[in-house]
């Protein structure tokens, strides 16, 4: 079921149907568009307004007035710059590892397994299987598997690969590991959909022209699978940068691994410091939109939707 999204997200736009102009279009569009304006667009505006709010004079905690207090931004940047840097570097690392792990898998399913359709569909079901079980329980399972008393950690310590006082959970490693694990299906599916359409005759042509297997891969396979690489990296990077489950102290993170999402959650839901949470959200969204638009322009795949 999830593949439909990814396959169309990477499909080239074909437009054979002559489109008509009719009042029916308005009837079909209006309810949904109005819904998105009310519950997606105006919330972003209200987030922007909140990010400039100032604490109410003599007010209680959590009471703010509309103002233009741009200092909210400089304050959150000076206070939380380590979290901002961490969010994007963890997301970048997780995206890189997910790509390296997923590409060979997607290549096998999409190209090598074409001869056996049953194997192909079975493998695809296994790729999306993690979607069927709670994201939080999966992450907690890794926490238990990496806990200090666990078999994995005990054996690593017995082999002296890990110091006696060392921990696995609560480190940058475990957070990036969790992010990578959780987003592998998001990377594999779009890669699969482009590789599945890859015409192997291009690869044979490369071989015939005396290119080494590595050259064929670099000059033919990679460029042809670019739409999948772009879609996969975006589908991994965006949610990973905003994630706060993996980095949360109750899951795979610790005090030194908190990301922007953790700070936004704490400020909004615990400290009731809405302006700081809103300013951080706006920063996160702006950075992501800038990165996405540059990335999509440079890789020449602007038709993502």
């Amino acid at each position: 079921m999830a593949f439909a999204v990814f396959s169309t997200a990477t499909a080239p736009s074909t437009d054979p149907v002559a489109r008509r102009r009719s009042p029916v279009a308005l009837f079909l569009l209006l309810p949904g568009i109005l819904y998105l304006v009310l519950f997606f667009l105006t919330p972003l505006v209200s987030l922007l307004l909140t990010s400039f709010q100032t604490p109410r004079e003599f007010g209680d905690i959590g009471q703010y007035d509309y103002a233009f207090r741009w200092q909210n931004y400089t304050e959150v940047i000076t206070t939380y710059w380590p979290h901002i840097v961490r969010s994007f570097s963890y997301a970048l690392a997780a995206t890189f590892f997910a790509l390296v792990i997923s590409y060979p898998l997607a290549y096998f399913i999409g190209v090598k397994a074409r001869k056996w359709p049953l194997l192909q569909s079975l493998m695809l079901v296994l790729v999306i299987a993690p979607f069927f079980i709670s994201f939080l329980l999966r992450t907690l399972a890794w926490k238990q598997l990496f806990s200090d008393e666990s078999f994995v950690v005990q054996s690593l310590k017995a082999l002296s690969l890990l110091g006696p006082e060392a921990h696995v959970t609560g480190t940058a490693f475990s957070v990036i590991f969790g992010l990578t694990y959780n987003f592998i299906p998001f990377m594999t599916l779009p890669l699969y959909t482009t590789l599945e359409r890859l015409d192997v005759r291009y690869l044979e042509a490369g071989n015939d022209l005396y290119a080494s297997p590595f050259q064929v891969f670099r000059k033919v396979t990679i460029p042809l699978s670019m739409p999948g690489i772009v879609a996969g990296t975006l589908l991994t990077f965006i949610p990973a940068a905003g994630d706060y489950i993996n980095a949360s102290r109750d899951f795979l993170g610790g005090t030194g691994t908190q990301m922007m999402g953790n700070v936004i959650e704490a400020n909004f839901l615990v400290l009731q410091n809405y302006p700081s949470a809103a300013a951080l959200s706006i920063i996160l969204m702006t950075v992501i939109l800038v990165i996405v638009s540059i990335y999509v322009k440079r890789s020449g795949t602007e038709e993502l939707l």
């Binding site: 999204v5 029916v24 997606f40 060979p104 399972a141 965006i238 109750d250």
Partner: protein, 268 residues
């Protein structure tokens, strides 16, 4: 020797990668049979007890949260699938002004991190003084499902042969009859796929829910809250049951799809 190693490297790697994906699922499933006390961390022996008495723990708090998630998922799916399907038909079939702006509005929710979507809605509900409860969760879930429905159904509408509908009109079918008897049945597989996807997205959503749920507990939120003091094995039971059910649905769809393709191949 070198050749055969190269030949086996990719299949073996793929098998191991899939095995790696299955590890936490297997762990969750195995620990649903753990004869655990409050928290489900150390293995204390095998039991079917948790599967047979899922709702007995904590006065049924797990089942209450699970039921909330099912209800929210169902309502959000129906609304999002209806609105999204209408938009998908309009985008493929009709010409209208502000086309690129509409596409952007549909793309942006998918490109926005969930924490921003959640905080934005929460900020709006806060400034309007709307109390957070079941309704605010449903409103939030419907919002992020719409775009995914549009993308899924759009592909199906685009692959629909307009000649079929034309034939219906030529045979004096009214606009409604053509839609109900031709267009809708042909779109149904796409609509069902979109509905399943919406339900899955809504059911497993935590981040947006956390910002807009107030005192209402959904299944993922229950797990998040309990994570600090330990999660009862009953949560593993429910998650494993959902997993098995979803797997059965997907495999059935795949197998029946393959059987249908074979029938069609035989006919032609």
């Amino acid at each position: 020797m070198k050749l055969s190693l190269g030949k086996w490297l990719l299949p073996v790697y793929s098998g191991l990668a899939l095995l790696f994906l299955m590890i936490p699922i297997g762990y969750t499933f195995v620990y649903s049979f753990n004869d655990s006390l409050k928290s489900n961390i150390t293995w204390r022996g095998f039991t079917f007890d948790k599967w047979l008495n899922v709702c007995n723990v904590q006065n049924g708090a797990v089942c209450q949260a699970f039921g909330n998630s099912l209800f929210i998922g169902a309502v959000a799916t129906v609304v999002a699938t209806t609105l999204g399907t209408m938009i998908a038909i309009a985008i493929v079939r009709y010409r209208f002004k502000f086309r690129s702006q509409t596409s952007l509005l549909l793309f942006l929710p998918m490109a926005t991190p969930e924490v921003v979507l959640g905080a934005g809605l929460a900020a709006q509900f806060l400034s309007l003084g709307v109390p957070k409860d079941m309704l605010t969760i449903i409103l939030a879930h419907t919002m992020f499902c719409i775009s995914f429905v549009v993308v899924t159904v759009k592909a199906r509408v685009a692959s629909l042969d307009p000649a079929l509908e034309e034939a219906g009109r030529d045979l004096y079918g009214s606009a409604w009859q053509v839609f109900a008897r031709i267009t809708f049945p042909l779109l149904l597989p796409g609509i069902l796929a979109a509905a399943l996807l919406s339900f899955a997205l809504s059911f497993d959503d935590f981040i947006i829910t956390n910002f807009n749920s107030g005192a209402v507990t959904t299944f993922p939120k229950y797990i998040y809250i309990s994570a600090a003091r330990g999660i009862p094995a009953e949560a593993n039971v429910l998650a494993s049951a959902v997993f098995i059910l979803a797997l059965v649905v997907v495999v059935t769809v795949q197998v029946s799809g393959a059987a249908k393709a074979r029938r069609l191949a035989k006919l032609s």
